[in-house]
């Protein structure tokens, strides 16, 4: 009899936990790791203000360590969520892939190697110096990424494709254990920037 009661109690606890989890799933509040969806900006009547708000939301990704670490202010990349200088010392080199004898893919191979926590991608490399974001304001980054003289000659269509489709950019959402993924998803990030472009691609004032 005692055993039957214990089983009933355990069952009730389990059901309660499942219901609580389901409720939490449906009522979960957005966190800093999410991106607001584009429709949630519709209540901003002024188009320029809406455009800037959309860019500022996308800026959560642009200024995240997963992105800034390879858009460093110096020739040396950063690493980790703490954005420490890369160990060992490596530099951008002429083409963003390092220097003779020590290129990015000397250590970073075609995919993350989780056993050693070494990240990887076939195109692993640094952004050009003209696209350094470390220490820049969102307004400065916005001006940079719109400027074909600094962004590698990309027009807006190419820029949006790079942000939303490029698989090295996409690595930011699949960084492997020990590294926080960029907020939201690449699709949500791309949608924010497309909406930003559609509203005039206005930049924050600073």
């Amino acid at each position: 009899m005692m055993r039957a009661q214990a089983l009933l109690v355990a069952g009730a606890v389990a059901v309660t936990a499942l219901v609580a989890a389901a409720v939490a799933q449906t009522t979960r509040q957005p966190t800093a790791k999410d991106l607001r969806p584009v429709p949630s900006f519709q209540n901003i009547a002024d188009q320029q203000a809406r455009s800037i708000a959309l860019f500022e939301e996308a800026g959560k990704v642009l200024q995240h360590p997963r992105c800034v670490n390879c858009h460093p202010a110096t020739e040396r990349p950063l690493q980790s969520d703490a954005m420490r200088p890369h160990q060992p010392l490596v530099v951008r080199g002429a083409d963003g892939h390092g220097v003779p004898g020590m290129t990015c893919n000397t250590c970073h191979h075609v995919a993350n190697f989780d056993a050693a926590r070494v990240p990887g991608h076939p195109q692993w490399h640094l952004a050009p110096a003209s696209m350094a974001w470390e220490g820049r304001t969102l307004g400065e980054i916005c001006a940079q990424i719109k400027d074909p003289n600094r962004n590698g000659g990309k027009d807006m269509a190419a820029l949006l494709h790079h942000m939303a489709e490029d698989t090295l950019v996409g690595w930011g959402w699949s960084p492997g254990p020990g590294r926080e993924p960029a907020p939201g998803t690449q699709a949500a990030f791309g949608a924010l920037l497309r909406a930003w472009a559609d509203t005039g691609a206005h930049c924050p004032p600073s």
Partner: protein, 153 residues
């Protein structure tokens, strides 16, 4: 997983796990123990080999990612640059304990294949990922300059 890989010019059959790092395939499956395990996380350079002629850390390269690319280890590295580095290393008596030296030599050869007359900065940047606990860095740099001069002549 049984697979065939080309190492030092010879096709070899190995039966290893998909995610086995190339380093351990070389050392344990093929008995090529000249390539060393240092850190296992691509921080020290002791495991440096060439993959299709380019220096790579073998401790973090799973064998499944190697594909058809050819591996060259310290046992198989050859050519003018390798000979010049070998002679310079002997002349300068570069190694102390020697544990890191196969990796150092592979990186030095890789540098000289691409930069015929490297500056101190070229050498420092290329060799930065090869750690030497005996701190033979000064002799390594001098020996690379020696090798470059020998290759000029």
């Amino acid at each position: 997983m049984a697979l065939a890989i080309k190492v030092n010019g010879t096709m070899q059959s190995v039966d290893v796990d998909n995610d086995a790092p190339l380093l351990w395939v070389l050392r344990d499956a093929l008995g090529l123990a000249g390539t060393k395990f240092g850190c296992g996380v691509a921080q020290c350079g002791a495991c440096t080999v060439f993959v299709d002629g380019k220096p790579m850390r073998s401790c973090t390269l799973p064998i499944s990612a190697l594909g058809t690319r050819e591996v060259t280890t310290i046992e198989g590295v050859s050519g003018r640059e390798a000979e010049a580095v070998q002679q310079a290393w002997i002349a300068r008596d570069v190694p102390q304990c020697g544990y890191c030296q196969s990796g150092q030599v592979m990186s030095a050869v890789a540098l000289l294949k691409q930069v015929k007359k490297p500056s101190d900065r070229d050498i420092d940047l290329a060799m930065n990922g090869n750690v030497c606990r005996c701190a033979t860095y000064v002799r390594i740099r001098a020996a690379i300059h020696d090798a470059a001069r020998a290759l000029e002549g």
